[in-house]
């Protein structure tokens, strides 16, 4: 059977991973994968409550972009042979609850949650970009490109959230601080476990 028409599984042998700083890359991909997974669940929760409201299409569009991000990190995870975080089932539930909970506070509540999370994520991506640039911009060119692109997307989500009156949400500053603290904890744990 000729191999031509068959899609070859990428031969991700150890050789192609030689010279990669494994601990650093492991952490980066694991935590980013967890982050995109969580973001997916947050938007799913928001859609479950606000899907049929006027902001439904906006949230759906942001959700679709997060789905693409997750797909990309799934690929990178397999390519670099990184293990996913054990906490995935937990982020599954926690993300959905956060999304649905913030949506129950109203459309502005949902937008506030989006702003808080997207700001955390873009700061986090920025520090990863710095780390990779310090390591070796040439070696990690593909990864850097991906992270930069995603950081720009998350920034865009953040701005959309602001445009939709996130700041007018009930207890905006308390909500934002609490959510960002949660994000920091999630990042810390997902990098390690």
């Amino acid at each position: 059977v000729p191999a031509g028409g068959v899609s070859l599984r990428r031969c991700s042998t150890r050789e192609s991973l030689e010279g990669v700083n494994r601990p650093v890359i492991d952490r980066i991909i694991r935590v980013d994968h967890a982050g995109e997974y969580g973001a997916n669940r947050i938007y799913a929760g928001q859609m479950a409550v606000l899907g049929r409201s006027s902001v439904g299409p906006v949230i759906q569009q942001m959700w679709n972009q997060e789905k693409d991000h997750l797909k990309k990190f799934n690929e990178l995870m397999v390519a670099y042979r990184v293990r996913p975080t054990v906490l995935l089932p937990f982020w599954n539930v926690a993300g959905f609850v956060l999304g649905a909970g913030s949506a129950l506070l109203g459309k502005k509540g949902a937008m506030a949650c989006t702003v808080a999370v997207e700001e955390s994520i873009s700061d986090h991506y920025n520090s990863q970009i710095r780390t990779l640039m310090e390591e070796d911009p040439e070696k990690y060119k593909e990864l850097l490109q991906v992270i930069k692109q995603f950081r720009d997307d998350e920034r865009e989500h953040h701005d959309i959230g602001l445009e939709h009156d996130a700041e007018a949400a009930p207890a905006y500053s308390v909500l934002k601080t609490a959510i960002q603290l949660g994000c920091k904890a999630a990042i810390f744990l997902s990098e390690r476990i």
Binding site: C11, R14, H33, R81, R83, P84, P89
Partner: protein, 315 residues
């Protein structure tokens, strides 16, 4: 590949220098002491047990090279040196230890996983038996070295197989057969040492060895799943590896007590365990889809009942 060629050159050069060093060592005993202490300094740098001072003079019957050794440069061979020629023969301590341990494996069936086997191995390389003092008394390093070597061989085997499949020269195996074959191939590497393997297993379970042995085990299992084509990025990643680890460990134990010809009982046990694992996966899916069907049925029933109530109320 470059590294392998360089390694080959180094080994060839090592033998050449050793020959010359035999002549030189007779001429310069104080020089030898300098060698020994330089090596000892490196040994203590790498946090091995300190050697008794009495064995210092006999540490090596021949110096490792004919010039004072450089300061420790880590496991990578150094290419600095007094002349282009000598630099290729610099063998790091880690490489030397590897060679001693590899040579020692031949003596394991006779002496077990002990310092005696290591001493015999060292002797075949022309080193003093006291070189076994570089290692722990309980044979831990020898066993870990062996396990690591087997894992590397397994990876290479699986890599070869994968290449053949990609070139279209071999058919892709179904998952259960792939796992069976991989585990069997790995366990067959134990056959020459099977008498002494239970001893090795108990040593690997010693607290100070557990981090390394666990590490070796998990990376081997991860390798097998990787080549089996596992692309899971969710909790399945963990479930699959846990299941395969269980299969591997139990099969290994069965193998220790198996006296059938060519261990056929063991391979049958392995086949059954792998089949169980596949069924478990199917069962889990079936349970989930049954559960979903039941829920939908209940929802439908609830809707029907509420409609019936509403229409009766209207009438």
């Amino acid at each position: 590949k470059m590294a392998a060629a360089a390694g080959g050159l180094r080994r060839a050069g090592w033998r050449l220098w050793r020959g010359r060093a035999v002549v030189r060592c007779q001429l310069s005993p104080p020089h030898r002491a300098l060698q020994a202490s330089a090596v000892l300094r490196r040994v203590s740098d790498e946090q091995k047990e300190p050697l008794a001072s009495s064995s210092q003079q006999q540490f090596y019957s021949h110096p490792t090279d004919h010039q004072p050794e450089q300061e420790p440069q880590g496991p990578r061979p150094s290419y600095t040196g007094q002349g282009g020629q000598e630099s290729e023969d610099y063998e790091s301590e880690e490489q030397l230890q590897h060679r001693i341990l590899t040579a020692a494996l031949e003596f394991v069936p006779e002496h077990g996983w002990t310092a005696e086997a290591i001493a015999e191995g060292a002797k075949t390389l022309g080193l003093s038996a006291a070189a076994a003092g570089m290692f722990h008394n309980d044979g831990s390093e020898l066993i870990l070295h062996f396990v690591s070597q087997c894992n590397t061989k397994l990876s290479e085997l699986l890599e070869q197989e994968q290449k053949l499949v990609q070139l279209g020269e071999a058919k892709k195996k179904p998952t259960d057969q792939f796992l069976r074959d991989a585990v069997q191939a790995r366990l067959r590497m134990l056959i020459p040492y099977i008498e002494k393997w239970p001893q090795a297993l108990s040593i690997l379970l010693l607290p100070h060895n557990i981090p390394s042995s666990l590490n070796l085990l998990t990376s081997m299992i991860d390798d097998i799943w990787h080549y089996a084509g596992d692309k899971s990025t969710d909790f399945n990643w963990y479930t699959r590896r846990a299941v395969l680890t269980g299969i591997y460990n139990t099969t290994e134990l069965v193998m220790m007590q198996d006296s059938s010809p060519d261990f056929e009982d063991t391979w049958r046990f392995l086949e059954n365990r792998v089949a169980d694992a596949m069924n478990m996966g199917n069962t889990a899916d079936q349970v989930q889809s049954t559960g979903e069907a039941v829920v939908q049925g209940l929802m439908g029933a609830a809707v029907t009942v509420s409609n019936a109530e509403t229409s009766r109320a209207v009438r």
